[in-house]
């Protein structure tokens, strides 16, 4: 574990999570959630779990963002709260 690297990533994680929760445009929220997934992927890679890291990169940052966007395009784009 590299402490300074950990702290930076965890800080960005919290910021990304807060923005994704509070932004009104769901498309931006989905993209920011992709950034969140990619930051977690960096965290796994740094801890030495390479297989978990690239699964997170494909699922968390890639496919789940695509699925969110597909859902948003078939529903409404604005968040109601």
């Amino acid at each position: 574990m590299i402490l300074s690297f950990d702290i930076i990533i965890l800080l960005f994680l919290v910021v990304a999570a807060l923005i994704a929760l509070n932004v009104r445009d769901l498309l931006s929220a989905a993209v920011i959630f992709g950034i969140f997934g990619f930051l977690i992927c960096l965290l796994w890679a740094e801890m030495g779990a390479v297989d978990v890291a690239f699964t997170e990169a494909t699922v968390g940052a890639g496919v789940s963002t695509v699925l969110f966007i597909a859902t948003i395009l078939n529903t409404r784009r604005k968040s109601s709260d």
């Binding site: 297989d51 699964t55 494909t58 496919v63 699925l67 078939n74």
Partner: protein
């Protein structure tokens, strides 16, 4: 607004309880924690057994794969079944067949990455990138018992490569390469490959998923190599199921179950 306050309070309480639970955990990588060293005076821990014996038992250098696909093979079989069931549930809810399936709508209904000169950059990039992704995914599956990786990881990447084709052009581009019939059968075939590796040892008089006895069929020298080869077979089954289900979820979700048009 009220709901938001209540939700925040609930989240705060749950978070506090979780943090309180974490405070009891041993530190990261502590060799004397019960999980790593076993209970003092009691039985030695499972982790210790895996670390010491798994290479001798299975001839698989990657400890994670040997635990996942052999020692805990039963778990992994039903994890794969869970993925399959989730995909089938989404299929059952979203898929529209018959008269309700309308003609494609939207601005991208007619565009394709094959021979459409208006999308030449996206189409060419995608056609160049997809083989690389797929070869790497096959490497991850095939090399899963020697390096980090395995069926779930490789299957996810294979599924993502088909989703990339569908995203760059039209869903039809992906469906000509992996049709609905193909992905639904591949999902079931993957489970059957895994379960087949479980039933074969039973036919030879051993327990379910006890790969060691397969040396008689696979003509390997010793039960260890039979375990290693069976793990590869099992990983291929997992990869097929995960790939098909990933693509099935995307295809049904992005077109409201009509499988026409695209995003």
């Amino acid at each position: 607004m009220n709901a938001k306050i209540f939700a925040s309070i609930a989240v705060a309480i749950t978070g506090a309880v979780l943090l309180y639970g974490v405070s009891d955990f041993p530190t990261f990588g502590d060799p004397r924690s019960p999980a790593s060293a076993g209970v003092e005076g009691g039985a030695p821990s499972a982790s210790q057994y895996y670390i010491n014996e798994s290479y001798g038992d299975t001839k698989v250098p990657n400890l994670v794969t040997s635990v996942l696909a052999d020692y805990r093979g039963y778990d992994t079989l039903f994890e794969t079944v869970v993925v399959f069931a989730a995909g089938m549930a989404i299929f059952a809810i979203l898929r529209v067949v018959g008269k309700e399936a309308k003609q494609p709508t939207g601005p991208r209904a007619g565009s394709s990455i094959d021979g459409d000169h208006q999308r030449i950059i996206v189409g060419t990039t995608c056609r160049l990138a997809v083989p690389v992704v797929q070869i790497f995914a096959l490497y991850v599956v095939a090399h899963g018992h020697h390096s980090p990786g395995g069926g779930f990881q490789g299957g996810v990447m294979l599924g993502a490569s088909f989703i990339l084709i569908a995203l760059a052009g039209n869903l039809d581009d992906a469906l000509t390469r992996l049709s609905e019939k193909a992905y639904l059968s591949l999902a079931a075939i993957g489970i059957m490959i895994y379960a087949g590796f479980g039933v074969l040892p039973q036919l030879l008089g051993k327990n379910f998923l006890d790969y060691g006895v397969l040396e008689k069929i696979l003509f390997t020298d010793g039960p260890e190599m039979a375990r290693s080869h069976s793990m590869l077979g099992v990983e291929i089954g997992v990869a097929l199921t995960v790939m098909s289900i990933m693509f099935a979820i995307f295809a049904n979700l992005s077109t409201r179950g009509t499988l026409k048009g695209g995003l």
